[in-house]
Amino acid sequence: MQEEQFSKLSEKIRGSLITPASGEYEVARQVYNAMIDRRPAAIVRCVDVADVRAAVTFARQDGLTIAIRGGGHSGAGLGVCDQGLVIDLSDQWSKRKKQLSRSAKGFRHQS
């Protein structure tokens, strides 16, 4: 039943949806702190704002717990939860880092 529900979410997003049946699952659920060992029902890798919106709406309608992952460096492992849905924003964070690198270099050249 839940797999079926998640496939509905999968159809709505441009990013990927990873469930325990996916080969990537064991790696995708890991966070920076290896002391944290949690098994979410699914991980949604968002590539744009529309994906984030779809994931949040889906979780609210289904009453799922959500964990938000940025870089995955939370000390307490708050970028992953047991059951529930991980909304993974690490792709956006990588893009933002590239933007920041460029703008910081530009600033240095001007100064």
Binding site: Q30, Y32, N33, I66, G75, K97, A104
Partner: protein, 160 residues
């Protein structure tokens, strides 16, 4: 130096996949008694990677009022982190116990609250200590925008 370069400075030393237990506090002064407690605890470190860092909080930070932003430790001069770290999962208990014991020993010499990512799952009292007098206002905001605490897997400010 671009921000991402600064932000990833520790990555080669501390790659993903180590066992970590963090504890923190904000600090105003390092008294002789505090330094003695630090030296005593540091000598018992359970692994080479385990550490205590004091990050300076200076300059413009002190020119902003305590209630002007959510962060309420404008009087702090250091952000302290104690981290028990090791690659071996079998040492998870040892690094955790060391970090907790270290924190117990130095906590009386600090201002009390901590940067929220220098914390494990430590309960609501630590969150309150961290936001100090701003906590009640943050609760009001939470109640307004997320009354059912949908966004709760975080260092959580509860709506009630």
């Amino acid at each position: 130096m671009p921000f991402p370069a600064l932000q990833s400075l520790f990555d080669p030393l501390l790659p993903k996949g180590l066992q970590w237990y963090w504890k923190g506090d904000f600090v105003r002064e390092l008294s002789d008694k505090a330094i003695d407690a630090h030296l005593e605890c540091a000598a018992k470190a359970p692994s080479e990677l385990s550490l205590m860092h004091l990050y300076p909080i200076d300059g413009a930070v002190h020119g902003v009022g305590q209630s002007e932003t959510a962060w309420g430790f404008r009087d702090a001069t250091w952000s302290m982190v104690i981290a028990g770290i090791d690659a071996d999962p079998a040492k998870a208990g040892a690094v955790t116990a060391w970090a907790k014991g270290y924190w117990e020993a130095v906590h009386p010499h600090t201002l009390g609250g901590a940067y929220v990512n220098f914390m494990m799952d430590e309960g609501v009292d630590r969150i309150k200590a961290t936001y100090r007098d701003n906590y009640d206002r943050l609760t009001e905001i939470k109640r307004k925008y997320d009354p059912h605490n949908f966004f709760r897997i975080n260092q959580n400010i509860k709506p009630d």
